[in-house]
Symmetry: C2
Subunit: 226 residues, 2 copies
């Protein structure tokens, strides 16, 4: 019996990768607020291994419902995804990106996205910064971790130091360095990024360990009333 | 077009959950050293959404190969998995578990396992400690993070404090509190757990931020020659 793990659906509600959000028709039914994450386990209908139908039940010797193939018996697990981000600094200013994609088109974000296979957490954070702001960074330390429980995601943030110039990546309309009193708090894209910036400035460059934060809402975006 | 994420195969090489390793026939072809993780993207043959066949290619506007359904066009992503663990202390001693399952049957481990949907990192670490050692813990701070790149996993370790008694969970043959000079270094099960214990003792209870470590081997187990 083989064991395969199916992670939760990639909501199109986080800047994940170049292919995930540029097409507006894609994931339109999975935008924040439209689908309860706890139900994601039941989205698998067919076995990725053999194409057979799957049932959703608690396997023997387990205590959670899993997707199990009726034909080959494979158990398919679903687990949280990792998002990695970087608060990159240069001469006391912070690099932010203005999003060129939905959701939160036109709002500002810390460079971040889904960690990929074959990279470390730090390498993923650096890659996202390079992709979104064309900015090479030297990663410092992890300072924040946001459990977005109902989205099945963990957002992990690192400090970084710009080691070269920066530009405007494909997912960005603009990128800019902001001093602390220039941060566009009312025009930030995501809750986890706002939290990261808040504790980043609290730390004043010191490694105080990881600030943990829990977001229960599966809607990662900031709304005007927030 | 829908977007689904398929994470990497759950190797049967880490104490994941009660159902994953107790059956010796399961995952026998996926034990450490038998399958390169980089190839896991190609293990999906059928679309979990519609049962159609998938192709493995780089989507337009992406830069990585993904599994794409030939019929419905869904892109299935694969991303790293999170393992959470806890170094739990009581009166200056550390709680370890002697494994009752393969791999590394009979060797000692820090309580740890795959993070589940619906929980925070810290809650996952506490749950694993409760399951493996029947020990309720109060989670402290994150002190270590091990990127097991070729296994597609990130292992995140917390400090903890026992808040009650402890016992022997189903995945354990024995559990015991060890003082620092009693730690069975030569009989530990996993590389990441050994690293966690090493830096835990270096910290001497202080939150020095997260110690990062990268393991390139996809074999998580310690061998006699290590």
């Amino acid at each position: 019996m083989k064991i395969l793990c199916l992670s939760v659906v990639h909501y199109a509600d986080f800047h994940a990768g170049p292919d995930r959000e540029r097409r507006p028709e894609r994931g339109a039914d999975r935008l924040p607020g439209t689908a309860p994450t706890r139900d994601l386990a039941s989205t698998m209908k067919y076995c990725p291994d053999c194409g057979g139908k799957v049932s959703h039940r608690i396997p023997a010797d387990d205590n959670r419902e899993r997707a199990i193939c009726d034909d080959c018996g494979t158990v398919h697990y679903q687990n949280p995804l990792i998002v990695v981000g970087c608060v990159a600094e240069s001469d006391g200013k912070i690099l932010l990106c203005k999003r060129s994609i939905e959701p939160r088109y036109g709002y500002w974000t810390v460079p971040a996205g889904f960690m990929e296979l074959g990279e470390t957490l730090a390498a993923g954070a650096a890659r996202e910064t390079l992709e979104e702001a064309l900015a090479p960074v030297e990663i410092g330390h992890q300072f924040a971790s946001v459990d977005v429980v109902d989205a099945g995601q963990v957002h992990i943030f690192f400090t970084g130091r710009l080691t070269g110039g920066y530009g405007v990546g494909e997912e960005s309309l603009d990128t800019r360095l902001f001093s602390e009193d220039e941060i566009p708090w009312d025009d930030l894209a995501f809750r986890s990024g706002r939290y990261a910036l808040q504790v980043y400035f609290e730390d004043r460059g010191k490694n105080n360990g990881v600030h943990f934060h829990e977001l229960r809402s599966k809607d990662l975006t900031l709304k005007n009333e927030d």
